[in-house]
Symmetry: C2
């Protein structure tokens, strides 16, 4: 029943965003009482949190899968700069693909993060978001930032937020037609400049 309620919440997010998820609609779709929703999740926000965790897990899985495939296809002897650039652009492309395929669901998650206290106070939820940024942090481990953990975390978070900013500025509320091309041109410029700068500063 728990799984079914989460699936129903996700379907409602796909249709009508965050505001479309009501205890009554979700319960009705699964054929249980409204009380069951509250018993299992404590509140509608609790249900939304559980649904968002599955979204974050899906994005995490996609990121790790793409990072693995990328590593398998890398040219032997390529420079660190080229490898880092390829890895970061590969992760950026994965993020675009994910947002394009899950636009409403992802917009609902972002709206949840902006408006619900639970998004900041639930430790599992915060950890699951940090895990996404850690994928970027791992790529940066072999750069001149190396083992400087604090600096690497700043850089990973900055790159993540930048790519996220570029994607959301282009994907939500804009015409989809040119969105991918515009998004990609901006991400490619930004990530290339940042990686060039990262290796230039070292030299």
């Amino acid at each position: 029943v728990r799984e079914k309620l989460i699936a129903s919440a996700l379907a409602l997010m796909d249709e009508g965003g965050l505001d479309a998820v009501k205890a009554r609609s979700v319960a009705q779709a699964v054929g249980v009482s409204v009380g069951t929703v509250y018993n299992l999740f404590g509140s509608v926000d609790g249900l939304l949190l559980a649904a968002n965790l599955t979204i974050l897990e899906a994005l995490n899985a996609l990121g790790r899968e793409r990072a693995g495939a990328q590593r398998g296809g890398e040219q032997v002897g390529a420079s660190g700069r080229v490898l880092t650039l390829g890895r970061l652009l590969g992760l950026s492309a994965a993020y675009i693909d994910f947002v394009a395929a899950n636009a409403n669901r992802w917009a609902a998650l972002l709206a949840f993060n902006r408006s619900r206290k639970l998004a900041e106070t639930d430790r599992t939820y915060v950890a699951r978001q940090d895990a996404l940024i850690d994928i970027v942090g791992e790529v940066l481990r072999t750069t001149p930032l190396g083992d400087n953990g604090p600096r690497r975390r700043v850089a990973a978070r900055a790159l993540w937020s930048s790519v996220h900013g570029i994607v959301t500025m282009n994907y939500f509320g804009a015409d989809e037609a040119g969105a991918r091309q515009r998004t990609w041109a901006q991400i490619e410029w930004l990530v290339t400049a940042a990686v060039d700068g990262l290796y230039a500063a070292k030299a």
Copy 2:
């Protein structure tokens, strides 16, 4: 009356975000009929658009003022890289200050942009947003991107969206205490890396 209705809409945005702006509340606050709101702005979205234009103008004025002050205080003989970095960080600081001082109002504008068709179709509104990105584009004119207009526009939009992404990830729905410091550390890393890369690629 037009000015008063806009001021009232902005005050409601400050209090309760986008959803708090209703024709009735705005009319009541100013002491006119609901019909007057529709006569003057066509719809509530029309009123919100007019209110958002004043927000964009305020941000634009701040950006241009800071850019002017920055130019006045620049060290004679400084390298292009140092000048560009200083200018972009100055604009970033202006953006943080603006968002910190107008958090609810700015979040309401962003929500409007995500959810209302008028945000994409009104030419004046789109032009006013482009004018903000042009401030960044002007700074990039003296960099190795030079007169390459299309490339410069991609770069300006990428940098704007990146700084915006970093600010929003830190400012909305997060504890304010460490927000500025975290935001600044990430922006400083990102902008420095991008500027280093921009000048390194040329060399």
